[in-house]
Amino acid sequence: MGIQEQYRSEAASLLSSGEVKLVIGFGAGSTADRRRPLFARTGEEANRFVLDASCIANLSTYLLTEGLLSDGKKVGIFLKPDGIRSINILIAEAQLKPDQVVILGYAIENGQLTALEGRSVADFNGVNEKIRSLALPPAVQQDIERLEAMSPVERFQFWQDQFSKCIKCYACRQACPMCYCRRCIVDVNQPQWVNTSSHTLGNFEWNIVRAFHLAGRCAACGACDRACPVNIPLRLINARMGREVREAFDYFAGESTDQKPVLASFSKDDPETFIL
């Protein structure tokens, strides 16, 4: 039995036994290589789940739909390791309760799918070498190296060119599981810190503020990248922030559910004198 069939039947039994009220997974998309999210509420609907190497989206963002989890019932969800990282970060930031999530985990390596063992959040909690060692896709890695090799002036020009394309549609914000604020800072207009019209300065402000807000919180799932209609390689900037945080604080976001947010917590042993 392939992994798709295994997870279809598992999802069906989760639903028919009433253990979960909903399973979020993938269904067929508009073209042969695209998948679209499928929300199954019955065992029969679960038979329409598709699971193959094209299922690359991070579905965890759907868990934050307003009101979805307020009844205390459980939801099943298909997740890759980056999605599991997102879940851990969301739990650490009190946006999810661990006992409301049933994980149907899978990994894609060289186009091959493998099922991940464990179903509860606790099974994936703690330092997970598998998750930590997970490399970024080679193409992304190459892009990062190409950017690193640039001089600061060239790099600034690169981002200026990229951000000049931004049309402020906020698709990146919508796709990102970490952008869960009820009101985004960009929507604050008293005072209007970030200019909403899409000119270079406002575009820069928006994208840089978002990168700062994701420092130490990004699971590197690439949802922002895929969502961007004008193809700004947003994950590159987030990957760089992630590396800075890793090097400065030995902090790997999404490793466990009890990680303290790296930029909001402080140690009393900090050598900096401004900390009492």
């Binding site: 946006q95 009820r182 009101r183 800072i185 604050v188 810190w193 917590s265 009393k268 009492l276």
Partner: protein
């Protein structure tokens, strides 16, 4: 409509010499919303303040900007002036064109331009100021004093005598501290015990003082006026309420060869012991690590000897209690540096190389030799004693960088005591400088030299070694430029004063700052010497820096005055610069809860009309909030704002630049 008054101060020449104040006044006069704009030589003077008040009344001003010095200097002055003229004091802003402009620039034209921008941005801010009211918090009028040395005793007595309750916590079995170990005290040579013990007795008998000995402060939570302190009362194994202090148990204890801490190892004590004869309370304690019963499960001779039932209780456990206090005085004192780092001085190797504190015990009438200065090795009277000053102090390489302040004086005193007890004795003092600043201090050291024959050799000692039963002290006399050797019978090291070994850990536990050594930090070295940066916590004595007894006592009374000032009212008025959360947009990520250094942010339930919790949001306790703004910068959804520094105000300020 905003009606803003702008008042440009010359500060004599401080501002006017580098800023063209006339130009500044002209530029600001045309600024939208500015109703009146004046300049004057000293706005902080009475006529200056009167000008501001008159302008507020005559022009019905809605806001005031004083372009002058730092708000640290005169914000309170002008707030008061505004209030007297009927304007809410928080409708005032100080534009700092002195420290941040005139003092730091040398180009008048550019400095003037900058002063205009600074003042203009504050005008834009003050237009958006809101009227604020000070926050009232209740004050628990009971003080906690941590440390029962002379500092803690003095502070406790001063507070208690003014009619306020005090809890005095001491971790040793008796109060008294280091002062109880001293023989005579400089510069008057009065007996330390004779002047200290009356204070100790007064403290324990005072109706307003509760003395908790053999107890430690485990945790401090809360804020100025409202602290909750967790104290651990360590198991003493003796019920001090039942014990009469007869001392029979001490006599009968089979463990008698334990080096006494109080005697600095020069005398012995038993396993059940009182640290010294005048201990307060004069009730014994069992040293669990040395007691035969606790080691072998057999003995209990003390319990059998004791004539009071259940007085000695081997099953006693540590107990904890929580105490509500409004202010805390930290008086945790010092330790002396471990001199064994100086291998060349032979401390620990030769019995007759001792520390200054050990010499105190030898010279003390209550000490192991009953006040006779005798060599620890053979009990003979030393004919020649060498004193080495700065044995640790002012030595960045091996010791400490600072001056321990008391050693010059006590070494002179030691030489004097030695001369008084051994009339033919010879004392030689190696010193770097003689630091004898203080009332009667220089006269005292002169007396040691001139009347009591102390020989002062300016120079350092390189080595102390034993030869033919003598301690050979090899050093240099830098005034003669010659190496010298003295054959001594005893060597006394003036060891450095260092913070308590757990000082840093303790400071973190109660939330105060400390310096690189572990001495606790005062809020301002000159102007706020007994306050810490944490409101409601005060310092006194050698936990802040090395100090002698007069300074310690003065500082203890100063901290008591601060505590009594705080206790003079039932309610405490606090700056209303506190953060507030916009509940509707708070995402409940609790980043602010973790980021807050004052634990001022709590989780609050938002309920629907049926009482069901719909969500949780952050909520700031205005009593705890110190207005630092850390939460504001952290909040991603911009759901926290700081009164007096709102986003709107800051934005307007920035945009005016």
């Amino acid at each position: 409509m905003a009606k803003i008054g702008v008042f440009v101060c010359h500060c004599g020449e401080n501002i006017a010499s580098m800023v063209d104040t006339g130009n500044l006044v002209r530029s600001l006069s045309d600024h939208p919303g500015v109703e009146v704009c004046n300049e004057y030589k000293y706005f902080c003077s009475d006529p200056g303040q009167e000008t501001v008040k008159r302008a507020i009344r005559e022009h019905n001003l809605t806001g005031v900007v004083v372009a002058a010095c730092s708000p640290r200097m005169h914000e309170q002055t002008f707030r008061k002036a505004c209030a007297e003229a009927g304007l809410n004091p928080y409708m005032l802003e100080l534009a700092n064109i002195r420290e941040q402009c005139s003092w730091v620039h040398s180009n008048k034209e550019q400095a003037t331009g900058k002063a205009i921008e600074i003042t203009r941005s504050l005008v834009e801010k003050v237009k958006r100021n809101n009227e604020l009211k000070p926050i009232s918090v209740p004050v628990t009028r009971r003080a906690l004093v941590i440390g029962g040395g002379i500092a803690g005793i003095q502070a406790a007595l001063d507070i208690a005598s003014a009619g306020r309750e005090v809890v005095l916590v001491e971790r040793e079995p008796s109060i008294g501290g280091h002062m109880s170990q001293l023989s005579e005290t400089f510069p008057t040579l009065d007996c330390s015990q004779c002047i200290l013990t009356p204070r100790m007795v007064e403290a324990i008998q005072h109706p307003n003082i509760r003395v908790l000995t053999y107890s430690e402060v485990e945790e401090v939570v809360g804020y100025i006026g409202n602290f909750t302190v967790k104290v651990r009362n360590k198991a003493r194994y003796v019920d001090i309420d039942k014990c009469t202090g007869c001392g029979d148990c001490i006599q009968k204890c089979p463990q008698k060869k334990i080096p006494s801490e109080f005697e600095c190892g020069l005398g012995n004590r038993s396993a059940i012991y009182t640290p010294f004869a005048q201990a307060v309370p004069n009730k014994p304690v069992i040293d669990r690590n040395r007691c035969t019963y606790f080691k072998n499960g057999k003995c209990k001779i003390c319990q059998k000897t004791c004539q009071i039932e259940h007085c000695i209780d081997f099953d006693m456990q540590d107990t904890y209690e929580e105490i509500e206090v409004g202010a805390i005085v930290v008086a945790t004192g010092f330790q002396i540096q471990d001199t064994s780092v100086y291998g060349e001085y032979g401390y620990g190797k030769y019995k007759d190389v001792i520390t200054g504190l050990q010499f105190e015990r030898l010279a003390s009438a209550s000490g192991p030799t009953a006040g006779k200065i005798l060599r620890p090795s053979d009990g003979k009277e030393p004919e020649t004693v060498v004193f080495i000053q700065c044995a640790g102090s002012r030595d960045p390489s091996k010791g400490v960088k600072y001056c321990s302040k008391i050693c010059c004086m006590y070494t002179a005193k030691h030489a004097m005591l030695y001369a008084h007890k051994h009339h033919h004795g010879n004392s030689q003092i190696f010193y770097m400088d003689i630091r004898a600043a203080g009332k009667g201090y220089d006269e005292f050291t002169r007396r040691a030299i001139e009347e009591d024959g102390a020989g002062y050799v300016r120079g350092r000692v390189s080595k102390v070694f034993q030869e033919n039963g003598k301690l050979i002290v090899r050093g240099v006399d830098t005034l003669l430029g010659k190496p010298v050797e003295v054959a001594a019978d005893m060597v006394v090291l003036a060891t450095a004063m260092v913070p308590q070994p757990d000082a840093k850990e303790f400071a973190k536990r109660i939330g105060i700052g400390y310096d690189e050594y572990g001495f606790f930090n005062e809020a301002h070295l000159k102007l706020r010497p007994v306050e810490t940066a944490t409101a409601g916590i005060y310092l006194c004595g050698a936990c802040q820096s090395p100090k002698d007894i007069p300074d310690t006592v003065a500082q203890a009374s100063a901290s008591a005055a601060k505590v009594l000032g705080l206790f003079s009212r039932e309610q405490l008025e606090r700056e209303p610069v506190v953060a507030a959360v916009t509940e509707s947009t708070c995402a409940g990520c609790w980043g602010c809860v973790m980021a807050c250094p004052y634990n001022a942010i709590e989780k609050q339930d938002i309920k629907d009309r049926n009482g069901k919790v719909i969500k949780q949001v952050a909520s700031v306790n205005p009593g705890l909030c110190q207005g630092c703004g850390t939460c504001v910068t952290f909040c991603r959804s911009n759901s926290i704002d700081l009164a007096g520094f709102t986003e709107k105000q800051i934005f307007a300020e920035v945009m005016a630049l």
